[in-house]
Amino acid sequence: MRDIALGQYFPGNSFLHRMDPRVKMVLTFLYIFAVFIPRNWVGLCGAVAFLAIAVLLSKLPVKLVLKSIKPVIPLVLITSALNIFYVSEGTAVFEWWVIHITTKGLITASFIAIRIICLIAGSSLLTYTTSPTTLTDALERLLSPLKIVRLDVHELAMMMTIALRFIPTLIEETDKIMSAQKARGADLESGGPMQRIRALVPIVVPLFVSSFRRASDLATAMECRCYRGGMGRTRMKQMKMRAADILSAAVVLAVIAALFALNFFIRPVL
């Protein structure tokens, strides 16, 4: 339970680590979009190759990136299976009773599978190379134009920062409360689903009570340190766009253009 959420960031000093987080974030979104452009094998291989280069640039162990894919394997399998069984166009390769497997179905299935894997690996590359606080900071700055529509972007980002800060604290607290209730004879592991849900009440209630106390303490601490919202606030860590960031943006845009172009020149298999 301790490994969730915050264990994502792997500190380092690679090209990807040093990139401006705003640029990194936008480019990741662009890449997710780009993965869905190719309609031929060459383009798809290009998208995969681009990801592979990004992984190499991050200097992270490849195993780590593969691990990020693990949780989505069931999803990949289910969507592939659906495509294999439901696409009935194309030449049949296998027919039995109600099952028709066609070449078109197999191709669609593998395209979908590769796209999902690229999407997940690409976005985890973002969270692996950027600290959560930097991510929320970048988000705050990227969304700052929304101030015009009266959305308080600073407050949103502050809430995210505080949530991230308190996840480990609350997990620790949950462990403590669970041990305390077990020591008093609470049975958390046996019985049907309803009984188990009911058994959670003596854990959730104290957790809520203490969270409210924490929230009130934190508000006091923030006020003591002159917090008054986003107005007039400066930041210690400035974000600077360097030549390398502009270059990477150019490369990503070029890749997207190339993927579009390939769709015209190579006969689509999809």
């Binding site: 915050l6 500190p11 600290s131 959560p132 606080t133 920062t161 505080i162 991230l164 800060r165 480990p168 604290t169 620790e172 106390r213 924490r214 303490d217 934190l218 006091t220 601490a221 923030m222 006020e223 003591c224 340190r225 002159c226 917090y227 008054r228 007039g232 606030r233 400066t234 930041r235 210690m236 860590k237 400035q238």
Partner: protein, 287 residues
């Protein structure tokens, strides 16, 4: 009139009926805290000591009387942030006052709120972390630090605002003995070396001994105040209000009552040992 913090006839009560019936939390408090002084405020739970502390940085405003910080009235909204910058506050629970997921970013939180220049914030953060001996942990996640380290980070967060006074509200009550020592060493050093005024709210007598002056609160009133030696020699009076005296003082008090001629102002274990060995030497010499 020139004291750094002046509390003049401060009364305080919460605005709900149950509290109105039980009387005010603070009742006619007159207290001056000088620049560079180390004051310990003692009292058991419900004596009003935390409430009083919150008046020093305008977290609470007096219901009657006034509090002046460096000549500024805490009730003046225009001075609010300047007062909170000058009088930093460290709270009891180390977990609940750290805002950020990285130590150095948390220390930067105060100066960022004050709108300080980024390069200046960087300088202040490094300097503050160095002052509390946490510089090497600057990129750590706060939840992986010990309680004492977290409290030192909280102190650094206050220091980065360049305060003149730090009010600590029971900063050690949730720490182990090691953490307690770290925090107390840090604040005594800041007081000694930088002349930062310290107001330490505590119910540990051993901590109050470090102060220049001890103020004992009882039911929202000042019961006793003075140098730790004077205050802790009044053992009977302290005991009446349910406070313990430091163990060495207690031991000497008991011995004195049993007829052993010991001085009245013994506070620390070292002083106690010294007084006893002196006594033993004298009795040997006498024989």
């Amino acid at each position: 009139m020139n004291a750094f913090i002046c509390a003049e006839k401060v009364r305080f009560h919460y605005d709900n009926r149950a509290d109105m019936l039980s009387g005010p939390v603070l009742d006619d408090i007159d207290l001056n805290i000088e620049r560079g002084e180390f004051v310990a405020i003692l009292g058991h739970n419900g004596s009003g000591k935390s409430t009083l502390a919150k008046h020093f940085n305008a977290m609470l405003l007096p219901s009657g009387g006034r509090v002046l910080v460096s000549g500024r009235d805490t009730a003046d909204q225009n001075e609010l942030y300047e007062i909170r910058r000058m009088v930093g506050m460290v709270l009891q629970n180390p977990d609940n006052q750290i805002v950020s997921t990285i130590v150095e970013e948390d220390v930067a939180f105060g100066p960022e709120n004050l709108g300080v220049e980024p390069s200046e914030i960087r300088r202040r953060v490094d300097e503050a972390l160095k002052a509390v001996g946490m510089l090497e942990y600057r990129e750590h996640a706060p939840h992986k630090l010990s309680g004492g380290q977290k409290q030192r980070v909280a102190i650094a967060g206050v220091l980065a605002m360049q305060p003149e006074c730090i009010v600590l509200d029971e900063p050690t009550s949730m720490l182990d003995p090691q953490g307690r020592k770290e925090v107390l060493d840090t604040i005594s050093r800041l007081n000694r070396e930088r002349g930062i005024t310290i107001v330490l709210i505590t119910h540990f007598m051993e901590e109050a001994v470090l102060a220049d002056r001890v103020v004992v609160l009882e039911n929202g009133r000042i019961l006793l105040q003075g140098h730790p030696r004077e205050v802790f020699s009044d053992i009977e009076r302290l005991r009446q209000v349910g406070l313990d005296v430091p163990q060495p003082a207690e031991l000497c008090h008991q011995l004195r009552r049993a007829g052993v001629p010991l001085p009245e102002d013994v506070l620390t274990a070292e002083e106690c040992v010294e007084a006893l060995s002196l006594l033993l030497e004298e009795s040997y010499a006498g024989n």
